[in-house]
Structure formats: C-alpha cells, structure tokens
Amino acid sequence: MSIGHTLLGLLESGPRHGYDLKRAFDEKFGHDRPLHYGQVYSTMSRLLKNGLVEVDGIEAGGGPERKRYAITDAGITDVERWLATPEAPEPYLQSTLYTKIVLALLTHRDAADILDTQRAEHLRMMRILTDRKRKGDLADQLICDHALFHLEADLRWLELTAARLDKLAEAVAK
Amino acid sequence: MKSRQWVRDLAMGVRFAFAGGREGWTRALLTAVGVGLGVALLLITTAIPNALSARDKRSSDRDDFTYSAKRLPKADDTLLIANADTTFRSKDIRGRLVEPEGVKAPLPPGVAKFPAKGEMVASPALKKLLESDSGKLLRERYPYRIVATIDKPGLIGPAELAFYAGTTGLENHLSNGYVERIDYFGPSPNHTPDKLDPVLILLIMIIFVVLLLPVGVFIAAAVRFGGERRDRRLAALRLVGADGRMARRIAGGEALAGALLGLVLGTLFFLAARQSASVLVVRNVSVFPSDLNPSPALVALVAVAVPAAAVLVTLFALRGVVIEPLGVVRTAKPPRRRLWWRLLLPLGGLALLYPMMGQGNDNGSFNEWMVIGGTVLLLIGVTALLPWVVEAVVARLNSGSVSWQLAVRRLQLSSGTAARMVNGIAVAVAGAIALQMLFAGVEHDYTKSTDNDLNRAQMQVSLRSDVPLAEVGGALSGTKGVRHASALSLGSVGEKAKNPDNSLEVAVGSCAELREVARLASCRDGDVFRITGGEYGDKAKEFTTPGRTVYFDPRYDDQPSHTASWKVTPGVLTAEGREDPTGYERGGLLFTPGALPASAQAGLSPMVYVSLNQSVPDARDYVRNTAARLDPLSETFDLASSETSLQFKPIRNGLFVGATCVLVLIGASLLVSQLEQLRERKKLLSSLVAFGTRRRTLSLSVLWQTAIPIALGLLLASVVGLTLGAVLLRMTGESVTIDWASVLSMTGIGAGVVLAVTLLSLPPLLRLMRPDGLRTE
C-alpha cells in the first residue's frame, strides 16, 4: 500500500497537522498496523520535496514543532492518477505451501498431514476473522471479508491438492 | 399459412412427446393408457347394440313355435319339435326334442344332422358342462349320447346352454301346446319383432349417456397427466425462442401424441376385451367376439373426436397459464370461479326435459334428442359446478389436525386439479343414481308380484297325461331334497264330448291333496265335490244336477282325445274355494280317486306341488331330474315371490357392468395422478419425515386430500342424480320416490373407489417417505 498516496488523499478534504494525519490513517486503514510518527514525517518531507504538498502554517506549541500541511494542485493530480491506475493482480505463483508439499513427497513424508494441518490453521484464522466480523462495524466486515475470501481461496486450493495428492506424488517421483 | 404453422407446431409437440427420454415416454404412455382405456370402453359401448341385434337375429332365426292356429299336415318336409327347456342350478338351458317326419325336414340353424333317438346335439358350453364334474347331476337328466355340437349360427352366445335331442312318438302330444309341427325355422310370417316400449328406450338412451359421459370426462383428465413436468419443458422451449402461442400448440401436440397412441392402445384393449368376451358370462348373457363390431361411422367418430378433444382440452387447460421462459406461471390468484354460467348448464338441461313430463304413460314417445341433450346438460352441469363447489367449500374449511390442515391447504391452492379428478366419478354416480331411481320407480310396472305362497310349496311340476298319478306322487315324494309332494290330476269336463266351449275344471286327488286347492268339511275316498261361489260356482251346480251326463277331456272333432263320460251321481258334496300354492283359486269339480271313472284317467295330466327341504343343496335339480325321468316333456316351475319382465333384465345387467367398469377406470386414473403428484413431492415428503412427521399423519393427509373433493363430488352427484331421477320419473308418469338404498349403494361404490385409491397409493407413499429422498449426492 502506498502510504504517500493515502496521506495525500486524506489531505484533499483540508489541511491537517501531521498528528491528525496519523490518527485519521490509523482509524480508517491501519487496523492491524498503526503508523509510526517517524513514518508520517519522513513521508511528508518527501512529498514536500516533490511539491505535492505545502506547509500551510506552523503552530508553535509546547512539544515538537507542529506543521500544518495542505495539498497542492500537483498533489491532487497525483492522487487522481494513482486512483485511476489499476493495481497489478497478485500472480501467487510463488507458494511456500506448494514447496512444502513437493518436498514432503520427495522425502516420503506425509503430505496429507501437512495439508490438514494447514487447513486447520486456515480455518482457525477464518473463525477469528468471522468472530471479529460479527462484532465489528461495516469497515471491519469489509476488511475481514477480504481476508476471508483469500483464505477461502487458499482452503479450496488445499482441498483440491489433497484430492490430487496421488497424482502429484506420481509426477514428483518421475 | 396459419394452418401450416399449426401443423408444424403440433408435429413438433408429437416429437417432443416421444423424444423426451424416459420421462417423456412414461408420460406419453400414461396418457395413452388412460386414453386407450377410455377408447376401448367407447368402442365396446358402441359395439354392444350391434352385438345385441346379432343375437336377436340368430334368436329369431331359430324360432320354432309359431303358435299359429293353422295346423300343418304331416309331410315329407315337416318336423315335430317339443320344448324341453329346463334349468340347472341358476342357469337356463334351451332344450328341444326333435322328430323329423321326412327326409326334407328342416334342420335347425347350426345343426348339421338330426340326432337319432337317444342322441343329442349340444352346444359346446353344454357339452363341456355335461362332461365336467359339476355337471354330473345334470347328466342324469339326459339319457342321450352327444353326437355333435351346435355351431355358432344356432346359438345366441358362446356360453349358451342348448341342445336338440332326437325322439319319437311326439305326434301323440301335438295338441298339448308344447309340441309343434313345423316346416321351417325362423320367425312366423306374421311375426313382428317385439317393439321395446318407449320407457325402455328412454332407459337405454340414458344408460348410454350415463356410461359414455364419464368416459369423456376421463379422457379429458387423462390428457392432462404429467402436467407439471410438461410445464417445465414448455418453459425451456420459450427460453430458446418459441412464442407463447407456439408453446401452447406444442403442448397440444404432445397431448395429441398421447391420444393417438391411446387410439392404438384402445384398439388393442378393445380387441383383447372382444376376445375375452367369449369367456365372460354376465348373468346368463354371453357374446360372440365376432358379434362385437362397432359400426364404422362410430369408429370413425371416435378416431377423429378423441385426438381433437385431446388438443382442445390441452389448449383450454392452458388458458389461465402464462408460459414464461423461466417457468410456467399460473396467474397467482386465479379469477374467482363464477357461479352463474355453471348453473346455466343444469338449468338448461331441466328446461329441455321439462316439456316431456308425463309423456311416458299416454302417447308414449319422447324426443330422443331432447332427452339426450337434457340429460347430457344436467350431467355436464356436475362437472361445471363441482370446481366451484370444491373451491367454495374448501376456502371455508379451516381448523383441524395437522393432516387435515395439510390436505385443506393443498386443496385451497389447487382445488381445480382436485375437482377435475373427481368429475368423472361424480358424473358416473349422478347418472347411476338417476337411473337406479328410474329403475326402482318403473320396476313395479315391469315386475309382477305373484300370489305364490312359498310356505306351502316352492316348485310346481306339470307332466303329460299318461303317467299314473300315484307313480308321479311317489317318485317325487321319494326324491332327495323333497319334504312333501302333493300330486293332483288336472283336466276338464264339458257338457258335450266334442265341444270344449262349455266346460269346467276338474282336479283329482286324495282328500289331503284336494285340501291344497279347496276347503272340504269332510272327505272320504269316493266323494265328489263341487266348488261353490266364485265365477264358476253356478255352473258347477248346474253340471252336477243328479242324472246328468258330463264328458271328460272334451275336444273338437279333429283333435285326438281321451273322452270319457260320467253320469252324475247323487250326493255331490260342496266345497269352498281355496288358493293353491301358486295363488290360484280354482272352481269346478273335485274327485277323489275312488269316484273317478277309470276311463277318465287318460285324459288328465298330473300336476305336483313340491315343498322342498331348502337345506339340501341342489334340491330343485333333483326334482327336475325326477320330472325329466318321468316325462321328458315335463315342465317344472320355481315359485318365486316376484317375476321381472324379461326385457328389463339385460338392461339392468348392462347398467351394473358398465357403471362398475367406469368407476374402476376412473379409480385407476385417480391412482395414476395421485402417484404422479406424490413423486413430485418426494423431497418434501422426505424432509417432513426427517423432522419427525408420523407416517400416519402424511397418509391421513393423502386420504383427506382425496376424500374431501370426493365427498363433495358425491354430495353434488346425489343432488343432481336425484333431480334427474325425479324428472325422468315424472316423464314416465311415475310417482317420485327416492330410492335411498340405491343412493347409498352408488355413493358407497364411489367412496369405495376413494378408499381403494388411497390404500393403493399408500405403499408408494411409504416408499417415498424413506430418507433416500434427502440424498442429493
């Protein structure tokens, strides 16, 4: 995820202090990983350097210096361009799980066991997410659903692989 | 242009009917079997008149008793023939003794060569009976050897029991009425066939309407078999681009396929039924298969009308249905059924019948078309009213057990289907009730109640004159199964030997036997009595003036007789008349044996009242055997409390057979649609069982589901049937009385059909309720 573009986008509704930006980001997007202050300030200075934001004013206060940032026209154009550019779909071609299965087969270990263990682990995670989804608000539900669908896809792959384990063993043995 | 479109769509439907895989075939076959049964019944019904007329024709072709006053002289081409009809158990046997008087004597139809004395030519059925164990008793009656069988032209039915036996010496009995000299077989020249009386013609017309109408209703229902699956197929057709009208026509084509196949099956069923007609004996009536030929015009009508009706019924049935590409939508709330036009039908029927009220007893002719039209309208009114009645009643039904609720709710959603299933039964029952009522009303016109006193005797045996009375009485008294036999000799005395015009009855017997026919104050052998009072009391007094001579067995000049004279002795006692066991109160003279001139004996013929021990099986047949041994020309009569007119019997039989066939047929169709409905609910039934529904609850709901519409149908049928019956009775001029027994028995048969259908659908229902229905994998 591009933190720079996200912060820029948050500035579009009006100028904000760095601290406000972090709070808004955490609230909306940082469910699992809150931003560090350092990250905010280093990102903002990069954006400032590129002319995508400008300093709207500085409030002198007790603590650290409090700059208020505002987005520039160039910044708005940049956000627009970012939103319009589709994300490259994840190809998922590098799979640790696949590697584990093939290795298990090559070394004559029980690959089915690995699949089942993984399956149980996936479902455990899905249960946690489902539970959170039930207690959370709409944002929580959407985030969890996103994860659940991905986990479900993994699970379906696990099931399919379990069903084809014999064929895979033959292919690997060649 | 348009007709070509029609043909194309219908043809496509026909193809679909057979190309739909196993399911399509099953449906087409189901329809075909239903239609086929209907067609077979139609063909049989249309063939029956022909069969009956063929029977009549052969029956009159072998007529031998002309009862003409003219007497034929003995010649080269004459035949003496005597009636030897008898009864074995409950079966009638037509018997004739024949004695050809020359080489050109006419052969009876179906007989190749005259049997010689001691030989007989028997019908195949009689031959079989005589050769079987059960015919052992009958064999004793016929001291003849079977030398040939009677061929078809001489028989009215394949199961008819008939024979011709050779004999000699018949000429002596020519004057007695049961021996005749003939020179040809066939109806006498002045013979006019018995004209059926208009009331009987009315009955026959109504029977046909009553039998054929339910068949029509049934065929209409049969082409709708499997409707729900067909709907799905039609929706699929719409999805690939057929328009609504095309889909309808294709549906019509499918029905057409079933109907055409049904025609083929119907013909096969008919041929099979025709073949089995030879083994089927319904109350003494059997029919030759070759006589069962429907008239070509009627066959053509059936062949055209049935398929056409199939298409029309389907199109009519789909009128409230919208066929959408994604499914068939029955307009969610079908328009409420209206009552007024449904009432028009029966009212119209009544209007047609009304002008003929009371026509049966005076000029005696009915307008056939008005009778048939009125009856048809009244009965069709049942099928029009029933859906309305079912809908109206079912909508008001409510609380009750779970099974009741399931059934009622189902009926509320599809009362039309339910009503349609019952329509056939309702029409049949309504018609049958009306007919039974008509029968019951008309019956005493055609049934004479007799005056027989069954407490005194149950049989009467009459013999020829030359068997001695003592021998007759002794033989019959000693016969197995006889409790008591009173033998009398009967004859007449006249005032002149050669003129029987002025004569009186004479009975001769012992005092005890004479007391059976008169009240005697005192009696000894040698007494003579005259019966006072009654029609002949005065004449008897006149005849017994002392010194007068009267003559036994008076005959006209040219007839052989055994005339004997008796000079009246003084001391003729008086006796009062008494009804004999047959209810006859005789007049005239009574002689004890000691008083009778010996020469008078020959001119008398014995007659015996036989009282039976009813607990002895075949007692009547032992008596008949003894009588036949004493005299082959003897006649025995069963005394019964009533006699039914002969014309009436076959009509009634026809109704019973027909009504039973129709009800069984409709029961079969009910069963088929019931099973189809159950199959479609397989999944639901299984899930209901899963959550613990008792099988009894589901079975009961199936019963209610059939029983509610049938109960309503039978109720309506009773009302319409009684109305029609009352109108028909008024037409014949009879007083209207409701024959509750027949109402009960007809509704009982209808209810029996429901019960049978429910019972028969239970095993499949229980099978469907097994948890297999839940398996989806």
Partner: protein, 228 residues
C-alpha cells in the same frame, strides 16, 4: 472413547447404499451448545453421517449414543418422536410445505407434537421475529425470497427448542450475503438456547461459523482439532 459431557456420540459408523460405501468407520461427537462443521468433498458421506446422527437412516453397524441412549435399539416411532421433540432440521431447499403459509410451516413441528394451533402459531411468530421474518407470516413459501425462506426454515427448526440442530448445506442455495445472515442468526439462536449444531457444508466461510470442524473423506472422519 466417549468424550465426557458429549450430547451425541457416534463411533465406527458403517453404511452402504448398494455397492457404494457412504460411511466407513466414521466417528463424531458434539457437546451441548457446540457448533461442529462437517466438511468434505461431494460424495464423501457427510450427508449420510448427518442422516445417521439424526436417526433418519440406520447405519449398517456402529453405535450412536444420544444423551446416553443407543439410537440403534430405538424403534422407528421412538426415533421419529426424538426428531420431533429434541432435534431440529434445516435443509438446502424444498423443505417448506408450499401450501402452508410461512407461520403455519414454522408452527408445524409444534403441531406434530400436539400443541394447539393457536399456541403453536404464537410460538412460531416469536421465532420468526428473532429471525427477522415475522412480516412474512401470511405469505406462502412460493412468495418469499430464498434467503427469507431459509430463515423461515431455521425458525421452524428452532421452534421446538431442540437440543440438536442439524443443518445440511443450509446456505447452499443462497448468495454469500444472505448465507452469512442466515448463519449468523442460526448460530446466535443456537448459542442462546444452548443447542448443539451439526453443520454440514462444503463452504469454508460457512464452516468458519463453527467452533470445530470434522472432515469426512471416503466415509472416514477426521477431527481437525486433534490435528493441530
């Protein structure tokens, strides 16, 4: 072998339909208030396991103990009685009686148990309220959507306060949004009444509503709890 406190325990279940083996030594156990998912590929025997556990189908061999009673020794009538009063059922589709209104459908199990019509329909309405379908009372199943119909079915399964609720692909015919709502309502309702839920499904996201899962493969069961 029997886990302590189990409500329904099955051991060494075998069942064949003709030549096909549906169950080949399957095991199962469930506690009150527990939601157990039964997963597995199509044709693995998971529906047969459910039918055996619910006493709809008698296994060829093996034992099923409900509340300490052996189901194999019960008569058909006893098992029907058990299903009426102690179990509830939800299937994928085709389970509502099309002629009855929704409230009559929900009231049906109570009426089968002999409750009066009025009381049964009153109880049915309370349950329909909890499943948010009380406004459908007078409609027939054909007139409501799939999700609504399934909720009516859940209400019907719960109306007798069953101790075990058997759900066979309850969301199979629904989209994911409706399916999840049904699952939420179903598991919530089961938890509040402390009913055990046997949930047959092939969808992982539906199974995620369970506390525990069992995988059936080739008629054999595997408790995934013990795998981890």
């Amino acid at each position: 072998m029997t886990p302590a406190g189990s409500l329904l325990v099955a051991d060494a279940l075998h069942k064949s339909y003709g030549p096909t083996t549906a169950l080949d030594g399957a095991e199962f156990s469930i506690h009150p208030g527990e939601v157990v998912a039964v997963m597995g590929p199509s044709g693995s025997g998971k529906s047969t396991l459910l039918h055996c556990l619910a006493g709809i189908v008698t296994p060829d061999s093996g034992s099923i103990l409900y509340n300490g009673r052996e189901m194999a020794t019960m008569s058909d009538a006893e098992r029907s009685q058990l299903r009426r009063s102690e179990f509830g059922f939800v299937f994928q589709f085709g389970q509502l009686v099309p002629e009855l209104t929704c409230v009559e459908n929900v009231a049906l199990p109570l009426r089968l148990n002999g409750t009066s019509r009025k009381a049964a329909e009153k109880a049915a309405l309370t349950w329909m309220e909890r499943l948010e379908v009380d406004d459908l009372g007078k409609k027939r199943p054909g007139e409501v959507s799939g999700g609504q119909g399934q909720r009516v079915a859940v209400a019907r399964a719960l109306v007798t306060d069953p101790r075990v609720l058997f759900a066979d692909e309850p969301t199979g015919a629904l989209d994911s949004l409706n399916g999840e709502r049904v699952m939420e309502l179903l598991t919530d309702a089961a938890r509040t009444t402390n009913a055990a839920v046997v949930l047959v499904t092939h969808e992982a996201r539906v199974a995620a509503y369970s506390d525990r899962e069992i995988v059936v493969r080739d008629g054999k069961s595997r408790d995934m709890e013990r795998v981890v």
